[in-house]
Amino acid sequence: MATQSANRPASRLEVRVPPKNQRRPAHIDRWLAFASPLIAILLWEGTVRLGIMDDRFFPEPSAIASTAKDLVQSGELQRQVGVTMARVGVGFAMGAVPGVMLGVAMGLSRHMEAILRPLVSALYPIPKIAVLPLIFLIFGFGEMSKYLAVATSVFFVVLINSAGGVAQIPVIYREVGSSFHLSRLQFVRTIALPGALPAIFVGLQVGLGVALIAIIATEFVGAQSGVGFMIWQSWQVFRIKVMFVGLATIAILGFLSQTLLEVVRSWAIPWSPSNRRR
């Protein structure tokens, strides 16, 4: 049944594939991108049903889906997702805003660079998860400690990319600034910030991924709610299907948040070379 539905569109395509294939190879790529995860899921489903894979560790996707359905109907999943996303949102903003500001300042001023570079170089490589106990010690188990766990993870990635973005602005644009006798503030607003924006967005994209990792880890050990808590708790009570629902939820949240950021990026940087290819 599942196999048939996957085949049908393919056989329909075959009739008109030769001319269309030559004109628009992107069409095929879109099908492949859609088909590859589908095939992986079908393989998973099939091997579990045939008893090749142990369904205690890898419950079949259809069973996970029905668990997810139950969790959605009870409102449990939405509640946990809401809690986690609020933590990611606030923490991300708390890390990204000062990260951009200090990063741009660092890229602009040798003094700022001299002050911040050694601190950043020393603190950046510390896994932020390792700081969690300290955060809990100081801020307790309230929401603030979750925000800070996310913020510290996001901050450095965004800062380093922003500083690099400003430093990489072609010299000619700086000279345009000098030639037009810009004030410092005008230079930041019209040349440094827009020039660094593509790199800043790279920082934000990486930072968003890191933010999800940080919040899940934090919820494992220091929370009574959230998707991370849901996964950790389902391990302790051996509700493996719920665990997989949690994992799938994180994957979907990651995909959606990156897509959202990508939309913001192409809106904010219409001149970016990577937008032009589309």
Binding site: E175, S178, R184
Partner: protein, 294 residues
């Protein structure tokens, strides 16, 4: 001539452009008005530039003295690496001088003193053509009514009305350089500094832009310092050609261009006097180019 005419002089030491992206490091050494007579716009007096120090010191510009009158269009020609761009950058305050003095009469302090048209693509990729052209007045806080018409007029003059809202990546190299010219004229500086602005363009585009430049310049009569390595371009465009030697750049000749304006290049080319003048400049430069290549 306004009574409050003041002169700005420069000399002194650099600071990193990174920490002072907008601020000039000009040091006012001359404040007397009427330096060199009321029609004197710009004078370079015994200006030298040395890069580095000690054994590694390279003298790029050596004892250059040039005087430019108000409304004059001068071209500086010289072999590659002779320091002609350095001269322009020192006038623009993009680089400090090592010795000597540059004096610029600032006739109207509400206007920009200098604006540079660069050789490379320098229009800001994150601004539309219109925003690029209006960049100067916007940054000087001129009210919109004070520049809107001029900006539209200049966009039309360089033939980009249809592209006024386009972003630079949608434009060809020639169109980008047109934006750059319109941007400089829209800033309405007292002195326009052009650093080989057409060098990166193909022959046809270069000819068209040269004539466009002369047309726009003819209406505004700005003081222009134009750097080029092309003898034809220098003679076609300017009132005076300053010929520089190979490094360290010295002034070898300062030649008046006698042709009437408005000029067109194909008319000039059939004039024997044009051939004689470009020939004379070429003979001056030939040995210098060999020296620079050696």
């Amino acid at each position: 001539m306004p009574a409050d005419m003041s002169a700005v002089g420069r000399g002194g030491n650099p600071d990193g452009p990174w920490d002072h992206p907008g601020a000039g490091v000009a040091q006012a050494v001359v404040t007397t008005s009427g330096h060199g007579g009321p029609s004197r716009k710009l004078s370079l007096t015994h200006v030298s530039k040395t890069y580095g120090s000690g054994v590694a010191a390279v003298r790029a510009v050596d004892d250059v003295t040039i005087e430019v009158e108000v409304g004059e269009f001068i071209c500086v020609v010289g072999p590659s690496g002779c320091g002609k761009t350095t001269v322009l950058r020192m006038i623009a305050d993009l680089e400090p001088l090592t010795e000597g003095e540059i004096t610029i009469a600032h006739h109207d302090p509400t206007r920009a003193l200098t604006t540079v048209i660069f050789q490379e693509d320098s229009i800001l990729p994150w601004m539309s053509v219109r925003k690029n052209v209006s960049f100067g007045p916007r940054m000087r806080h001129v009210p919109k009514s004070g520049y809107r018409d001029l900006v539209e007029e200049l966009i039309a003059k360089v033939g980009l009305t249809k592209f006024a809202d386009a972003l630079p990546h949608q434009l060809s190299g020639g169109m980008k350089q047109r934006v750059s010219i319109a941007r400089a004229f829209a800033n309405d500086p007292e002195i326009l500094l052009m650093d080989e602005p057409f060098a990166a363009l193909d022959e046809q585009n270069r000819l068209i832009l040269q004539e466009e430049l002369l047309r726009i310049w003819g209406e505004t009569k700005k003081t222009v310092v134009f750097i080029t390595h092309s003898i034809d371009e220098a003679v076609f465009l300017s009132d005076r050609v300053v010929v520089m030697s190979a490094r360290p750049g010295r002034i070898m000749a300062d030649i008046k261009v006698p042709f009437d304006r408005p000029r067109t290049l194909h008319e000039l080319r059939v004039d024997p006097a044009f051939g004689a003048l470009t020939g004379r400049i070429w003979r001056l430069l030939r040995d210098e180019v060999r020296k620079a290549e050696a």
